[in-house]
Amino acid sequence: MKAKPKLAVWKFASCDGCQLSLLDCEDELLAVADAVHIANFPEASRAVVKGPYDLSLVEGSITTAHDAERIHKIRRQSKTVITIGACATSGGIQALKNFADHTDLIRTVYAHPEYISTLPNSTPISDHIFVDYELRGCPINKEQLLEVVNAFLNGRKPAMPEHSVCLDCKLQGNLCVMVAHGTPCLGPVTHAGCGALCPSYNRGCYGCFGPKENANPRALTVHLQEMGVQRDELLRLYRSFNAYHSEFRKESERIEQE
Protein backbone atom coordinates (compact mmCIF):
# COMPACT_ATOMS: atom_id res chain seq x y z
CA MET A 1 0.00 0.00 0.00
CA LYS A 2 1.15 3.49 -0.87
CA ALA A 3 2.29 5.65 2.07
CA LYS A 4 -0.27 8.26 3.03
CA PRO A 5 0.60 11.85 2.06
CA LYS A 6 1.98 13.85 4.98
CA LEU A 7 -0.07 16.89 5.91
CA ALA A 8 1.23 19.84 7.94
CA VAL A 9 -0.68 22.86 9.21
CA TRP A 10 1.22 26.10 9.92
CA LYS A 11 0.20 29.24 11.70
CA PHE A 12 1.33 32.84 11.13
CA ALA A 13 -0.40 36.07 12.20
CA SER A 14 -4.01 34.92 12.49
CA CYS A 15 -6.79 34.00 14.89
CA ASP A 16 -6.62 30.19 14.36
CA GLY A 17 -10.19 30.14 13.07
CA CYS A 18 -9.25 28.77 9.66
CA GLN A 19 -7.16 25.85 10.86
CA LEU A 20 -9.86 25.03 13.37
CA SER A 21 -12.18 24.60 10.38
CA LEU A 22 -10.28 21.40 9.74
CA LEU A 23 -11.19 20.10 13.21
CA ASP A 24 -14.68 21.39 12.63
CA CYS A 25 -15.12 18.87 9.78
CA GLU A 26 -16.62 16.44 12.28
CA ASP A 27 -18.42 14.17 9.83
CA GLU A 28 -15.54 14.05 7.39
CA LEU A 29 -12.62 14.15 9.84
CA LEU A 30 -12.20 10.39 9.92
CA ALA A 31 -12.13 10.23 6.13
CA VAL A 32 -9.44 12.94 6.13
CA ALA A 33 -7.43 11.12 8.79
CA ASP A 34 -7.74 7.92 6.75
CA ALA A 35 -6.49 9.61 3.62
CA VAL A 36 -3.61 11.67 5.00
CA HIS A 37 -1.01 11.36 7.71
CA ILE A 38 -1.48 14.41 9.91
CA ALA A 39 2.21 15.01 10.58
CA ASN A 40 2.28 18.50 12.00
CA PHE A 41 -0.84 20.12 13.42
CA PRO A 42 -0.21 21.54 16.90
CA GLU A 43 -3.87 22.55 17.33
CA ALA A 44 -4.81 18.89 17.02
CA SER A 45 -1.86 16.89 18.35
CA ARG A 46 1.48 17.37 20.09
CA ALA A 47 2.94 14.51 18.08
CA VAL A 48 5.03 16.21 15.43
CA VAL A 49 6.58 14.27 12.59
CA LYS A 50 9.53 15.85 10.79
CA GLY A 51 9.31 17.02 7.19
CA PRO A 52 9.35 16.97 4.27
CA TYR A 53 5.61 17.25 3.86
CA ASP A 54 3.43 16.51 0.86
CA LEU A 55 0.86 19.16 1.66
CA SER A 56 1.23 22.24 3.84
CA LEU A 57 -1.77 24.32 4.80
CA VAL A 58 -0.64 27.80 5.81
CA GLU A 59 -2.78 30.11 7.89
CA GLY A 60 -1.98 33.74 8.72
CA SER A 61 -0.07 36.66 7.30
CA ILE A 62 3.56 37.72 7.54
CA THR A 63 4.03 40.51 10.09
CA THR A 64 7.50 39.91 11.55
CA ALA A 65 11.01 39.45 10.14
CA HIS A 66 11.16 36.08 11.90
CA ASP A 67 8.03 34.87 10.13
CA ALA A 68 9.32 36.15 6.80
CA GLU A 69 12.24 33.72 7.30
CA ARG A 70 10.13 30.87 8.64
CA ILE A 71 7.80 30.75 5.64
CA HIS A 72 10.76 30.02 3.36
CA LYS A 73 11.71 27.02 5.55
CA ILE A 74 8.17 25.72 5.22
CA ARG A 75 8.23 26.14 1.45
CA ARG A 76 11.48 24.18 1.25
CA GLN A 77 9.96 21.30 3.20
CA SER A 78 6.64 21.20 1.32
CA LYS A 79 5.77 19.76 -2.05
CA THR A 80 2.50 21.69 -2.17
CA VAL A 81 1.59 24.84 -0.26
CA ILE A 82 -2.04 25.90 0.08
CA THR A 83 -2.79 29.11 1.96
CA ILE A 84 -6.01 29.11 3.93
CA GLY A 85 -8.03 32.21 4.74
CA ALA A 86 -8.03 35.96 4.26
CA CYS A 87 -4.92 36.56 6.42
CA ALA A 88 -2.76 34.19 4.38
CA THR A 89 -4.14 35.26 1.01
CA SER A 90 -4.49 39.02 1.50
CA GLY A 91 -2.91 40.06 4.81
CA GLY A 92 -6.11 39.84 6.86
CA ILE A 93 -7.78 42.38 9.11
CA GLN A 94 -4.34 43.20 10.55
CA ALA A 95 -3.39 44.62 7.15
CA LEU A 96 -5.41 47.70 8.16
CA LYS A 97 -2.11 48.84 9.62
CA ASN A 98 -0.73 49.00 6.08
CA PHE A 99 -2.84 52.11 5.54
CA ALA A 100 -1.35 53.88 8.59
CA ASP A 101 2.02 54.52 10.21
CA HIS A 102 2.66 51.34 12.17
CA THR A 103 4.92 53.01 14.75
CA ASP A 104 2.05 55.33 15.70
CA LEU A 105 -0.24 52.34 16.01
CA ILE A 106 2.21 50.46 18.22
CA ARG A 107 2.55 53.46 20.53
CA THR A 108 -1.23 53.73 20.77
CA VAL A 109 -1.82 50.06 21.53
CA TYR A 110 1.10 48.90 23.66
CA ALA A 111 2.25 50.25 27.03
CA HIS A 112 5.82 49.26 26.15
CA PRO A 113 6.21 49.76 22.39
CA GLU A 114 9.92 49.00 22.74
CA TYR A 115 9.08 45.29 23.23
CA ILE A 116 7.32 45.10 19.87
CA SER A 117 9.30 44.10 16.84
CA THR A 118 7.14 44.05 13.75
CA LEU A 119 7.24 44.76 10.04
CA PRO A 120 5.46 47.90 8.82
CA ASN A 121 3.05 45.85 6.68
CA SER A 122 1.01 42.68 7.08
CA THR A 123 1.45 40.80 3.83
CA PRO A 124 -0.01 37.69 2.23
CA ILE A 125 2.06 34.52 1.98
CA SER A 126 2.24 34.82 -1.81
CA ASP A 127 4.29 38.04 -1.39
CA HIS A 128 7.04 35.84 0.06
CA ILE A 129 6.94 32.40 -1.52
CA PHE A 130 5.34 30.56 -4.42
CA VAL A 131 1.89 29.38 -3.39
CA ASP A 132 0.24 26.50 -5.20
CA TYR A 133 -3.32 27.35 -4.27
CA GLU A 134 -5.09 30.03 -2.27
CA LEU A 135 -8.24 29.37 -0.31
CA ARG A 136 -10.27 32.52 0.36
CA GLY A 137 -12.47 33.53 3.23
CA CYS A 138 -12.64 34.88 6.75
CA PRO A 139 -12.98 32.23 7.89
CA ILE A 140 -12.58 29.68 5.12
CA ASN A 141 -15.53 27.47 4.27
CA LYS A 142 -14.88 23.97 5.59
CA GLU A 143 -16.52 22.42 2.53
CA GLN A 144 -14.01 24.27 0.37
CA LEU A 145 -11.14 23.13 2.60
CA LEU A 146 -12.27 19.53 2.21
CA GLU A 147 -12.66 20.03 -1.53
CA VAL A 148 -9.15 21.41 -1.96
CA VAL A 149 -7.58 18.60 0.11
CA ASN A 150 -9.73 16.05 -1.70
CA ALA A 151 -8.74 17.43 -5.12
CA PHE A 152 -5.08 17.38 -4.07
CA LEU A 153 -5.34 13.75 -2.98
CA ASN A 154 -7.06 12.69 -6.19
CA GLY A 155 -4.91 14.74 -8.51
CA ARG A 156 -7.78 16.75 -9.94
CA LYS A 157 -8.70 20.39 -10.23
CA PRO A 158 -10.65 21.68 -7.23
CA ALA A 159 -14.16 22.93 -7.98
CA MET A 160 -13.51 26.40 -6.64
CA PRO A 161 -15.10 28.97 -8.94
CA GLU A 162 -13.90 32.58 -8.89
CA HIS A 163 -17.28 34.05 -9.77
CA SER A 164 -19.32 36.52 -7.72
CA VAL A 165 -21.40 35.83 -4.62
CA CYS A 166 -24.40 36.78 -6.84
CA LEU A 167 -24.08 33.56 -8.81
CA ASP A 168 -24.22 31.55 -5.59
CA CYS A 169 -27.25 33.59 -4.48
CA LYS A 170 -29.05 32.65 -7.67
CA LEU A 171 -28.04 28.99 -7.34
CA GLN A 172 -29.82 29.06 -3.99
CA GLY A 173 -32.85 30.90 -5.33
CA ASN A 174 -32.16 33.93 -3.13
CA LEU A 175 -33.73 37.25 -3.86
CA CYS A 176 -31.27 40.09 -4.52
CA VAL A 177 -31.21 42.10 -1.27
CA MET A 178 -29.80 45.13 -3.05
CA VAL A 179 -32.54 45.31 -5.69
CA ALA A 180 -35.51 44.14 -3.60
CA HIS A 181 -34.67 45.66 -0.21
CA GLY A 182 -32.20 48.43 -1.01
CA THR A 183 -29.59 46.79 1.23
CA PRO A 184 -25.97 47.69 0.36
CA CYS A 185 -24.15 44.49 -0.61
CA LEU A 186 -20.61 43.66 -1.74
CA GLY A 187 -21.83 40.48 -3.44
CA PRO A 188 -21.36 41.71 -7.04
CA VAL A 189 -17.63 42.26 -6.48
CA THR A 190 -16.94 39.47 -4.00
CA HIS A 191 -15.45 36.03 -4.63
CA ALA A 192 -17.88 33.18 -4.03
CA GLY A 193 -17.18 30.43 -1.51
CA CYS A 194 -19.42 31.10 1.49
CA GLY A 195 -22.55 29.86 -0.29
CA ALA A 196 -23.98 33.40 -0.16
CA LEU A 197 -24.37 33.14 3.60
CA CYS A 198 -25.30 36.73 4.51
CA PRO A 199 -27.70 37.44 1.62
CA SER A 200 -29.44 34.14 2.48
CA TYR A 201 -30.32 35.82 5.78
CA ASN A 202 -31.24 39.15 4.14
CA ARG A 203 -27.95 40.82 5.00
CA GLY A 204 -25.66 42.47 2.51
CA CYS A 205 -22.40 40.69 1.70
CA TYR A 206 -19.40 41.85 3.76
CA GLY A 207 -16.80 40.72 1.24
CA CYS A 208 -15.19 38.10 3.52
CA PHE A 209 -13.85 36.20 0.51
CA GLY A 210 -12.20 39.23 -1.08
CA PRO A 211 -12.56 40.49 -4.64
CA LYS A 212 -13.81 38.14 -7.36
CA GLU A 213 -11.86 37.84 -10.59
CA ASN A 214 -12.25 40.95 -12.76
CA ALA A 215 -14.09 42.75 -9.95
CA ASN A 216 -15.36 46.26 -10.64
CA PRO A 217 -15.69 47.93 -7.23
CA ARG A 218 -15.39 51.36 -8.89
CA ALA A 219 -18.81 50.81 -10.47
CA LEU A 220 -20.23 49.39 -7.26
CA THR A 221 -19.08 52.47 -5.34
CA VAL A 222 -21.02 54.70 -7.76
CA HIS A 223 -24.12 52.58 -7.23
CA LEU A 224 -23.72 52.46 -3.43
CA GLN A 225 -23.32 56.24 -3.35
CA GLU A 226 -26.58 56.56 -5.28
CA MET A 227 -28.15 54.38 -2.59
CA GLY A 228 -26.94 56.90 -0.01
CA VAL A 229 -23.90 55.09 1.40
CA GLN A 230 -21.50 57.70 2.79
CA ARG A 231 -17.76 57.89 2.27
CA ASP A 232 -16.79 56.56 5.72
CA GLU A 233 -19.09 53.58 5.39
CA LEU A 234 -17.76 52.85 1.90
CA LEU A 235 -14.24 52.83 3.28
CA ARG A 236 -15.25 50.42 6.02
CA LEU A 237 -16.95 48.16 3.48
CA TYR A 238 -13.79 47.75 1.42
CA ARG A 239 -11.46 47.83 4.41
CA SER A 240 -12.26 44.74 6.38
CA PHE A 241 -10.73 41.26 6.26
CA ASN A 242 -9.49 41.70 2.70
CA ALA A 243 -8.58 45.39 2.91
CA TYR A 244 -5.18 44.84 1.30
CA HIS A 245 -6.42 42.63 -1.53
CA SER A 246 -5.84 44.16 -4.99
CA GLU A 247 -9.14 45.69 -6.17
CA PHE A 248 -10.50 46.33 -2.66
CA ARG A 249 -7.29 48.11 -1.71
CA LYS A 250 -7.21 50.20 -4.88
CA GLU A 251 -10.83 51.22 -4.51
CA SER A 252 -10.54 52.23 -0.84
CA GLU A 253 -7.41 54.25 -1.63
CA ARG A 254 -9.21 55.94 -4.50
CA ILE A 255 -12.15 56.82 -2.24
CA GLU A 256 -9.75 58.17 0.36
CA GLN A 257 -8.06 60.45 -2.15
CA GLU A 258 -11.32 61.69 -3.61
Binding site: E28, A31, V32, D34, A35, E147, N150, A151, L153, N154, R156, A159, P161, E162, H163, S164, C166, L167, K170, L171, Q172, G173, L175, C176, M178, V179, A180, H181, G182, C185, G187, P188, V189, N202, E213, N214, A215, N216, R218, A219, L220, V222, H223
Partner: protein, 373 residues
Protein backbone atom coordinates in the same frame (compact mmCIF):
# COMPACT_ATOMS: atom_id res chain seq x y z
CA UNK B 1 -65.44 30.78 -14.15
CA UNK B 2 -66.31 32.44 -10.86
CA UNK B 3 -63.44 33.72 -8.68
CA UNK B 4 -64.33 31.13 -6.01
CA UNK B 5 -63.64 28.35 -8.48
CA UNK B 6 -59.90 29.24 -8.72
CA UNK B 7 -59.10 27.30 -5.55
CA UNK B 8 -61.01 24.38 -6.98
CA UNK B 9 -58.76 24.47 -10.08
CA UNK B 10 -55.70 24.13 -7.82
CA UNK B 11 -57.36 21.24 -5.99
CA UNK B 12 -58.18 19.48 -9.24
CA UNK B 13 -54.57 19.78 -10.43
CA UNK B 14 -53.37 18.38 -7.11
CA UNK B 15 -55.83 15.51 -7.28
CA UNK B 16 -54.33 14.70 -10.67
CA UNK B 17 -51.11 14.09 -8.75
CA UNK B 18 -49.45 17.36 -9.68
CA UNK B 19 -47.34 19.70 -7.58
CA UNK B 20 -48.56 23.19 -8.30
CA UNK B 21 -45.88 25.90 -8.53
CA UNK B 22 -46.54 29.52 -9.24
CA UNK B 23 -46.30 33.07 -7.94
CA UNK B 24 -45.98 33.36 -4.17
CA UNK B 25 -45.12 36.14 -1.75
CA UNK B 26 -41.63 35.56 -0.37
CA UNK B 27 -39.20 37.91 1.27
CA UNK B 28 -40.81 41.18 0.14
CA UNK B 29 -41.16 40.07 -3.45
CA UNK B 30 -43.14 37.77 -5.72
CA UNK B 31 -41.17 34.64 -6.37
CA UNK B 32 -42.05 31.28 -7.88
CA UNK B 33 -42.67 28.53 -5.35
CA UNK B 34 -45.00 25.73 -4.26
CA UNK B 35 -48.70 26.50 -4.03
CA UNK B 36 -50.77 24.26 -1.79
CA UNK B 37 -53.91 26.39 -1.58
CA UNK B 38 -55.09 29.51 -3.34
CA UNK B 39 -54.17 31.48 -0.20
CA UNK B 40 -50.52 31.03 -1.24
CA UNK B 41 -51.12 33.27 -4.26
CA UNK B 42 -49.99 36.91 -3.76
CA UNK B 43 -53.50 38.31 -3.74
CA UNK B 44 -53.61 42.12 -3.68
CA UNK B 45 -49.87 42.50 -4.25
CA UNK B 46 -48.60 45.21 -6.56
CA UNK B 47 -44.99 45.52 -7.64
CA UNK B 48 -43.02 48.48 -8.86
CA UNK B 49 -40.10 47.68 -11.07
CA UNK B 50 -37.45 49.97 -12.43
CA UNK B 51 -33.79 49.50 -13.19
CA UNK B 52 -32.09 47.93 -10.16
CA UNK B 53 -35.24 48.40 -8.09
CA UNK B 54 -38.08 46.12 -7.08
CA UNK B 55 -40.62 47.14 -4.48
CA UNK B 56 -43.77 45.30 -3.47
CA UNK B 57 -46.85 46.72 -1.79
CA UNK B 58 -50.23 45.30 -0.82
CA UNK B 59 -53.05 47.51 -1.97
CA UNK B 60 -55.90 45.58 -0.37
CA UNK B 61 -57.34 44.73 -3.77
CA UNK B 62 -58.91 41.31 -4.33
CA UNK B 63 -57.02 40.93 -7.61
CA UNK B 64 -55.12 37.67 -7.81
CA UNK B 65 -52.79 38.61 -10.68
CA UNK B 66 -52.43 42.33 -10.07
CA UNK B 67 -48.65 42.26 -10.35
CA UNK B 68 -46.26 42.01 -13.27
CA UNK B 69 -43.64 39.33 -13.90
CA UNK B 70 -42.31 37.65 -10.71
CA UNK B 71 -38.66 37.95 -9.61
CA UNK B 72 -37.91 34.43 -10.78
CA UNK B 73 -39.06 32.64 -13.89
CA UNK B 74 -40.10 28.98 -14.01
CA UNK B 75 -36.65 28.09 -15.33
CA UNK B 76 -35.41 26.37 -12.13
CA UNK B 77 -38.28 23.88 -12.40
CA UNK B 78 -37.40 22.75 -15.91
CA UNK B 79 -33.68 23.54 -15.93
CA UNK B 80 -32.52 23.14 -12.31
CA UNK B 81 -29.60 25.09 -10.84
CA UNK B 82 -27.70 21.87 -10.12
CA UNK B 83 -28.17 18.32 -11.20
CA UNK B 84 -26.06 15.22 -11.02
CA UNK B 85 -25.47 13.79 -14.47
CA UNK B 86 -23.12 10.88 -13.75
CA UNK B 87 -21.82 8.78 -10.86
CA UNK B 88 -19.21 6.03 -10.87
CA UNK B 89 -17.68 3.65 -8.35
CA UNK B 90 -14.25 2.15 -8.86
CA UNK B 91 -14.29 -1.63 -8.80
CA UNK B 92 -11.18 -3.64 -9.53
CA UNK B 93 -9.67 -2.15 -12.64
CA UNK B 94 -12.89 -0.69 -13.94
CA UNK B 95 -15.87 1.41 -12.96
CA UNK B 96 -19.46 0.66 -12.12
CA UNK B 97 -22.06 3.18 -13.29
CA UNK B 98 -24.02 4.19 -10.21
CA UNK B 99 -26.05 6.99 -11.74
CA UNK B 100 -29.80 6.79 -11.64
CA UNK B 101 -32.27 9.35 -12.87
CA UNK B 102 -34.07 11.03 -10.02
CA UNK B 103 -37.84 10.70 -10.13
CA UNK B 104 -39.28 13.89 -11.61
CA UNK B 105 -42.39 15.35 -9.98
CA UNK B 106 -45.45 15.93 -12.14
CA UNK B 107 -45.76 19.69 -12.12
CA UNK B 108 -48.43 22.21 -12.84
CA UNK B 109 -46.84 25.56 -13.68
CA UNK B 110 -49.46 28.02 -12.53
CA UNK B 111 -49.88 31.64 -13.58
CA UNK B 112 -47.32 31.58 -16.39
CA UNK B 113 -47.16 34.89 -18.26
CA UNK B 114 -46.85 35.16 -22.02
CA UNK B 115 -43.18 36.20 -21.72
CA UNK B 116 -42.37 33.08 -19.72
CA UNK B 117 -44.36 30.89 -22.11
CA UNK B 118 -42.29 32.28 -24.96
CA UNK B 119 -39.15 31.61 -22.95
CA UNK B 120 -40.16 27.99 -22.42
CA UNK B 121 -40.79 27.68 -26.17
CA UNK B 122 -37.27 29.02 -26.82
CA UNK B 123 -35.72 26.54 -24.38
CA UNK B 124 -37.77 23.76 -26.03
CA UNK B 125 -36.39 24.72 -29.42
CA UNK B 126 -32.80 24.69 -28.18
CA UNK B 127 -32.83 21.79 -25.74
CA UNK B 128 -35.34 19.48 -27.45
CA UNK B 129 -35.41 20.30 -31.13
CA UNK B 130 -31.73 20.81 -31.85
CA UNK B 131 -29.22 18.13 -32.76
CA UNK B 132 -28.63 17.34 -29.07
CA UNK B 133 -31.56 16.63 -26.79
CA UNK B 134 -31.20 17.42 -23.11
CA UNK B 135 -32.82 14.31 -21.66
CA UNK B 136 -33.27 15.72 -18.19
CA UNK B 137 -34.96 18.80 -19.63
CA UNK B 138 -37.17 16.62 -21.82
CA UNK B 139 -38.38 14.58 -18.86
CA UNK B 140 -39.09 17.69 -16.83
CA UNK B 141 -40.88 19.44 -19.67
CA UNK B 142 -43.04 16.44 -20.43
CA UNK B 143 -44.15 16.36 -16.80
CA UNK B 144 -45.45 19.95 -16.95
CA UNK B 145 -49.03 21.04 -17.21
CA UNK B 146 -49.21 24.77 -17.89
CA UNK B 147 -51.84 27.16 -16.58
CA UNK B 148 -51.04 30.47 -18.22
CA UNK B 149 -52.46 33.88 -17.39
CA UNK B 150 -52.95 36.79 -19.73
CA UNK B 151 -50.96 39.70 -18.38
CA UNK B 152 -53.03 42.72 -17.41
CA UNK B 153 -50.28 44.47 -15.52
CA UNK B 154 -46.99 44.95 -17.38
CA UNK B 155 -44.20 46.25 -15.17
CA UNK B 156 -41.92 49.24 -15.47
CA UNK B 157 -39.19 47.24 -17.19
CA UNK B 158 -41.44 45.13 -19.46
CA UNK B 159 -41.25 45.27 -23.25
CA UNK B 160 -42.87 42.03 -24.46
CA UNK B 161 -45.04 43.98 -26.90
CA UNK B 162 -41.80 44.96 -28.70
CA UNK B 163 -40.48 41.41 -28.85
CA UNK B 164 -43.97 40.20 -29.85
CA UNK B 165 -44.04 37.64 -27.07
CA UNK B 166 -46.92 39.10 -25.04
CA UNK B 167 -48.78 40.34 -23.12
CA UNK B 168 -51.37 37.87 -24.38
CA UNK B 169 -50.83 34.12 -24.34
CA UNK B 170 -51.31 32.66 -27.78
CA UNK B 171 -49.70 29.21 -27.59
CA UNK B 172 -47.89 26.74 -25.37
CA UNK B 173 -50.44 26.37 -22.57
CA UNK B 174 -52.89 23.73 -21.43
CA UNK B 175 -55.17 26.32 -19.85
CA UNK B 176 -55.13 30.07 -19.95
CA UNK B 177 -56.81 32.44 -17.51
CA UNK B 178 -57.91 36.03 -17.97
CA UNK B 179 -58.75 37.79 -14.75
CA UNK B 180 -61.86 39.95 -14.99
CA UNK B 181 -62.05 42.21 -11.99
CA UNK B 182 -64.17 45.34 -12.04
CA UNK B 183 -67.10 46.85 -10.17
CA UNK B 184 -67.86 43.97 -7.85
CA UNK B 185 -67.53 41.49 -10.67
CA UNK B 186 -64.68 39.04 -10.15
CA UNK B 187 -64.47 36.21 -12.63
CA UNK B 188 -61.98 34.42 -14.83
CA UNK B 189 -62.14 33.57 -18.48
CA UNK B 190 -60.66 30.11 -18.81
CA UNK B 191 -59.73 28.56 -22.14
CA UNK B 192 -58.16 25.21 -22.94
CA UNK B 193 -55.18 24.96 -25.27
CA UNK B 194 -54.73 21.19 -25.26
CA UNK B 195 -56.68 17.94 -24.75
CA UNK B 196 -55.19 17.75 -21.22
CA UNK B 197 -56.52 21.21 -20.53
CA UNK B 198 -59.99 20.28 -21.78
CA UNK B 199 -60.02 17.30 -19.46
CA UNK B 200 -59.31 19.52 -16.44
CA UNK B 201 -62.12 21.88 -17.50
CA UNK B 202 -64.58 19.01 -17.17
CA UNK B 203 -63.93 18.94 -13.41
CA UNK B 204 -64.74 22.62 -12.95
CA UNK B 205 -68.00 24.45 -12.52
CA UNK B 206 -68.12 26.83 -15.44
CA UNK B 207 -70.57 29.11 -17.15
CA UNK B 208 -70.50 30.63 -20.62
CA UNK B 209 -68.81 34.04 -20.68
CA UNK B 210 -71.04 37.00 -21.45
CA UNK B 211 -70.37 39.43 -24.28
CA UNK B 212 -69.37 41.94 -21.60
CA UNK B 213 -66.78 39.51 -20.23
CA UNK B 214 -65.26 39.02 -23.65
CA UNK B 215 -65.27 42.73 -24.36
CA UNK B 216 -63.67 43.47 -20.98
CA UNK B 217 -60.95 40.92 -21.67
CA UNK B 218 -60.25 42.47 -25.06
CA UNK B 219 -59.97 45.99 -23.65
CA UNK B 220 -57.76 44.76 -20.82
CA UNK B 221 -55.49 43.08 -23.37
CA UNK B 222 -55.20 46.23 -25.44
CA UNK B 223 -54.56 48.32 -22.37
CA UNK B 224 -51.78 45.95 -21.26
CA UNK B 225 -50.12 46.10 -24.66
CA UNK B 226 -50.20 49.90 -24.47
CA UNK B 227 -48.77 50.12 -20.94
CA UNK B 228 -45.37 48.52 -21.42
CA UNK B 229 -42.72 50.19 -19.28
CA UNK B 230 -40.30 50.10 -22.18
CA UNK B 231 -40.19 49.85 -25.93
CA UNK B 232 -37.44 48.35 -28.05
CA UNK B 233 -36.98 48.60 -31.77
CA UNK B 234 -36.06 45.00 -32.63
CA UNK B 235 -35.79 45.66 -36.36
CA UNK B 236 -32.54 44.40 -37.91
CA UNK B 237 -30.87 43.78 -34.55
CA UNK B 238 -28.61 41.00 -35.82
CA UNK B 239 -27.13 43.23 -38.50
CA UNK B 240 -26.91 46.23 -36.20
CA UNK B 241 -24.98 44.33 -33.54
CA UNK B 242 -22.82 42.45 -36.03
CA UNK B 243 -21.90 45.77 -37.61
CA UNK B 244 -20.91 47.35 -34.30
CA UNK B 245 -18.63 44.86 -32.59
CA UNK B 246 -16.10 47.65 -31.99
CA UNK B 247 -18.59 50.33 -30.93
CA UNK B 248 -17.35 52.64 -28.17
CA UNK B 249 -20.50 51.87 -26.17
CA UNK B 250 -19.03 48.50 -25.18
CA UNK B 251 -16.31 50.28 -23.20
CA UNK B 252 -18.89 52.54 -21.64
CA UNK B 253 -21.13 49.69 -20.48
CA UNK B 254 -18.08 47.69 -19.30
CA UNK B 255 -17.20 50.52 -16.92
CA UNK B 256 -20.62 50.13 -15.28
CA UNK B 257 -20.96 46.33 -15.42
CA UNK B 258 -20.00 44.21 -12.37
CA UNK B 259 -19.95 41.02 -14.48
CA UNK B 260 -21.83 39.60 -11.49
CA UNK B 261 -23.99 37.28 -13.70
CA UNK B 262 -27.37 38.40 -12.34
CA UNK B 263 -28.84 39.34 -15.75
CA UNK B 264 -28.12 35.92 -17.21
CA UNK B 265 -29.37 33.98 -14.20
CA UNK B 266 -32.71 35.77 -14.01
CA UNK B 267 -33.09 35.54 -17.79
CA UNK B 268 -35.71 32.89 -18.57
CA UNK B 269 -33.92 31.85 -21.79
CA UNK B 270 -30.28 31.70 -20.65
CA UNK B 271 -29.32 28.06 -20.52
CA UNK B 272 -25.55 28.02 -19.99
CA UNK B 273 -24.21 25.45 -17.60
CA UNK B 274 -20.83 24.16 -16.52
CA UNK B 275 -19.61 20.79 -15.34
CA UNK B 276 -18.10 20.13 -11.91
CA UNK B 277 -16.51 16.84 -10.90
CA UNK B 278 -16.31 15.56 -7.34
CA UNK B 279 -14.59 12.57 -5.80
CA UNK B 280 -14.73 10.78 -2.50
CA UNK B 281 -11.61 11.15 -0.34
CA UNK B 282 -10.44 7.64 -1.12
CA UNK B 283 -10.93 8.23 -4.84
CA UNK B 284 -13.29 5.27 -5.15
CA UNK B 285 -16.35 7.28 -6.10
CA UNK B 286 -16.73 10.11 -8.56
CA UNK B 287 -19.67 12.27 -9.55
CA UNK B 288 -20.25 14.77 -12.33
CA UNK B 289 -22.59 17.69 -11.72
CA UNK B 290 -24.06 20.20 -14.08
CA UNK B 291 -24.75 23.66 -12.67
CA UNK B 292 -25.86 27.03 -13.98
CA UNK B 293 -23.09 29.16 -15.40
CA UNK B 294 -23.00 32.49 -17.16
CA UNK B 295 -21.14 34.12 -20.04
CA UNK B 296 -20.07 36.73 -17.47
CA UNK B 297 -17.71 34.35 -15.66
CA UNK B 298 -14.09 33.93 -16.67
CA UNK B 299 -14.39 30.14 -16.60
CA UNK B 300 -17.21 30.23 -19.13
CA UNK B 301 -14.88 31.10 -21.99
CA UNK B 302 -11.98 28.98 -20.77
CA UNK B 303 -10.37 26.88 -23.46
CA UNK B 304 -7.04 25.11 -23.26
CA UNK B 305 -4.47 27.66 -22.17
CA UNK B 306 -6.76 30.44 -21.00
CA UNK B 307 -10.05 32.27 -21.20
CA UNK B 308 -11.18 33.92 -24.41
CA UNK B 309 -13.25 36.68 -22.85
CA UNK B 310 -11.15 38.30 -20.16
CA UNK B 311 -12.52 41.85 -20.07
CA UNK B 312 -15.97 43.00 -18.97
CA UNK B 313 -16.29 44.60 -22.39
CA UNK B 314 -15.91 41.24 -24.13
CA UNK B 315 -18.28 39.52 -21.73
CA UNK B 316 -21.03 42.13 -21.93
CA UNK B 317 -20.75 42.22 -25.71
CA UNK B 318 -21.02 38.43 -25.81
CA UNK B 319 -24.24 38.47 -23.81
CA UNK B 320 -25.93 41.30 -25.67
CA UNK B 321 -24.91 40.28 -29.18
CA UNK B 322 -25.89 36.67 -28.52
CA UNK B 323 -29.24 37.40 -26.92
CA UNK B 324 -30.30 39.98 -29.52
CA UNK B 325 -28.25 39.09 -32.58
CA UNK B 326 -26.43 35.84 -33.14
CA UNK B 327 -29.15 33.91 -31.28
CA UNK B 328 -31.35 34.56 -34.29
CA UNK B 329 -28.71 33.20 -36.63
CA UNK B 330 -28.22 30.20 -34.39
CA UNK B 331 -31.76 29.30 -33.37
CA UNK B 332 -34.00 31.29 -35.71
CA UNK B 333 -35.54 33.65 -33.17
CA UNK B 334 -34.65 36.45 -30.80
CA UNK B 335 -33.22 35.22 -27.48
CA UNK B 336 -35.15 37.87 -25.56
CA UNK B 337 -38.82 37.70 -24.55
CA UNK B 338 -39.06 41.23 -23.15
CA UNK B 339 -39.75 40.21 -19.55
CA UNK B 340 -37.43 42.96 -18.29
CA UNK B 341 -35.93 40.88 -15.46
CA UNK B 342 -32.37 41.64 -16.56
CA UNK B 343 -33.16 45.35 -16.19
CA UNK B 344 -34.87 45.10 -12.81
CA UNK B 345 -32.38 42.65 -11.29
CA UNK B 346 -29.13 44.11 -12.61
CA UNK B 347 -27.71 45.58 -9.40
CA UNK B 348 -25.73 48.07 -11.50
CA UNK B 349 -28.88 49.37 -13.17
CA UNK B 350 -27.84 48.55 -16.73
CA UNK B 351 -30.77 48.59 -19.13
CA UNK B 352 -30.53 46.42 -22.28
CA UNK B 353 -33.12 48.59 -24.03
CA UNK B 354 -31.00 51.67 -23.44
CA UNK B 355 -27.77 49.91 -24.47
CA UNK B 356 -29.27 48.77 -27.76
CA UNK B 357 -30.76 52.19 -28.42
CA UNK B 358 -27.39 53.80 -27.75
CA UNK B 359 -25.79 51.60 -30.38
CA UNK B 360 -28.62 52.13 -32.84
CA UNK B 361 -28.51 55.86 -32.27
CA UNK B 362 -24.84 56.07 -33.22
CA UNK B 363 -24.38 53.17 -35.61
CA UNK B 364 -20.62 53.32 -36.04
CA UNK B 365 -20.38 50.22 -38.23
CA UNK B 366 -17.05 49.49 -36.58
CA UNK B 367 -16.49 45.87 -37.17
CA UNK B 368 -13.22 44.05 -37.02
CA UNK B 369 -12.63 40.46 -37.81
CA UNK B 370 -10.08 39.99 -35.05
CA UNK B 371 -10.56 41.34 -31.57
CA UNK B 372 -8.31 40.40 -28.73
CA UNK B 373 -10.25 40.38 -25.50
Amino acid sequence: MERAELGHLIDVLQREGREVVGPIFRNQAIDIGPITTEADLPIGCVDEQERATYRLTRNGSARVFGFSEPAASFKPYIFPQRQRIAAFRREGRGFVDEHHEEPIPRLALFGVRACDLAAIAILDRILLEGPYVDESYRRRRESCFIVAVNCAQPGGTCFCASTQTGPNCTFGYDLVLTELHAKGNHRFLIEAGSPDGLEILEHLELSEPTDDDIDFARRQREHAADSMGREMNVHGLTELLNDNTQHSRWDDVASRCFNCTNCTLVCPTCFCATIEDTTSFDGKQAERWKRWDSCFTLDHSYVHGGAVRVSSRARYRQWLTHKFGTWKEQFGMLGCVGCGRCITWCPAGIDVVEEIEAIRGSDEKVREEVDHG
